[in-house]
């Protein structure tokens, strides 16, 4: 094997990098708009999964504010606030952060909860996904006033929410986070819809 000079080797690495980075950026630019479109559609879909789209008539995805750690989408009908959708994150799961989407109507009822992202144990903690079980639907129609009672807990802690065999930490984290987010909404309703 004949030796190559370091300069010519470096030149070749540079040339290859240039070509490959060029290929990746070409594909990136070609797919950028389509990906943004997909993500916007996915956001709309997930917003509609926690709040009936017939209950509001504004451009929900763009009527958004940031308050403390929460991103809040405000739903209005003919200008009157009807509900809010909050995203929140808890780190009390079994592994990493769990991101939630929580819809609450102005009457103080939960219109739906969904898990947006998590890294819980497959086959155990991932039953919080609506794709796997409908556990997350057990929050629907619950009232904010239920949250202050001792019933707002998993069964093992004396509450009303099921836990999963072999995984209590994950549902407990979500039950607590929904409560925290719900109470936050209750206390800040005025500010949110200012």
């Amino acid at each position: 094997m004949k030796l190559t000079s370091p300069i010519s080797a470096a030149f070749r690495v540079g040339l290859f990098s240039f070509i490959i980075v060029g290929m990746v950026s070409l594909v990136f630019h070609a797919t950028k708009d389509k990906i943004a479109d997909n993500e916007r559609q996915a956001l709309l879909d997930s917003l509609q999964s926690v709040l009936n789209p017939e209950s509001y008539d504004n451009d929900l995805a763009n009527d958004v504010i940031q308050l403390q750690a929460y991103t809040i989408y405000r739903a209005r009908k003919s200008g009157t606030p009807v509900a809010a959708i909050l995203t929140s994150t808890t780190s009390h799961g079994y592994n990493g952060n769990i991101r939630l989407l929580l819809g609450i109507t102005m009457e103080g009822k939960i219109s739906g909860v969904r898990v947006l992202m998590h890294k819980e144990t497959p086959g155990l903690g991932d039953k919080i996904e609506i794709k796997k079980t409908n556990w997350i639907s057990s929050f629907k129609h619950k009232s904010l006033s239920d949250m202050s009672t001792r019933q707002w807990a998993v069964k093992q802690d004396g509450g009303i929410f099921d836990q999963f065999t072999g995984a209590t930490i994950t549902p407990r984290a979500i039950v607590n986070e929904v409560k925290k987010t719900g109470l936050f909404f209750q206390q800040n309703q005025q500010i949110i819809f200012q």
């Binding site: 080797a9 070749r12 990098s17 990136f28 997909n38 086959g123 794709k131 065999t165």
Partner: protein, 211 residues
């Protein structure tokens, strides 16, 4: 079928199976093989990456200097995986949402750089593409076996959540192999993956000795 083609195929599927003999790519193999469907998803994505990277490395092999071949392989593989991820994100969004987490894992699969080094950098394009396909199928075969063992022992089912890959109609594909089975957590967690893989390798060796 020429003798050469035959050797490439049996090597990829059996004699030099990347997962069971070369023991390459164990990181994604152990991480994702907890259900048959997850295994299938990673198997398809890995096979595609192997074919493309073998093809690219082979077609550029005249320009790759021996001293700098490894950084160049890494560059090419990372580029290919990123491009596959972007294309899937744009045009197969539903599939991307379920397979998306596996795609970056493929970069950690040393079987891909292994084939680039051992085969594609020394052979012409057609044999290299075939080698990528055979190695990919062999790897997928081991993944599927591992996924099936872990899913049956861990949860008592097969093909659960098939709808993630095949759409709503596949929801009914789930087979309850063991009825009223309370599950065995160990099989679903990483230690179960190591134990099951160990048993598979042992079984492969028993067959190999008999031959």
């Amino acid at each position: 079928m020429t003798n050469n083609t035959h050797i490439i195929i049996t090597n990829g599927l059996w004699q030099n199976n990347q997962a069971l003999v070369a023991l390459l790519g164990l990181c994604p193999l152990l991480a994702v093989s907890n259900t048959v469907i997850n295994s299938l998803g990673l198997g398809i994505a890995t096979t595609l990456t192997l074919i493309l990277s073998n093809g690219l490395v082979s077609s550029l092999r005249g320009y790759i200097l021996a001293e700098i071949r490894l950084p160049l392989f890494v560059l090419m593989i990372a580029g290919i995986v990123t491009i596959i991820e972007l294309l899937m994100n744009a045009w197969f969004y539903e599939l991307y949402k379920t397979l998306g987490i596996f795609i970056p894992l493929i970069v950690t699969n040393c079987a891909i750089i292994g084939r680039a080094e051992v085969f594609a950098s020394k052979n012409r394009i057609m044999p290299s593409l075939l080698d990528g396909l055979a190695m990919g199928l062999g790897f997928s075969f081991a993944l599927l076996l591992l996924g099936a063992i872990r899913e049956v022992v861990g949860a008592g089912t097969l093909f659960s959540q098939a709808d993630l890959l095949f759409g709503e109609a596949a929801k009914s594909w789930q087979i309850d192999v063991l009825h009223d089975y309370s599950g065995m957590l160990l099989a679903l967690l990483p230690p179960g993956a190591f134990i099951a893989l160990g048993l598979l390798i042992a079984a492969k060796n028993v067959f190999a000795i008999k031959e």
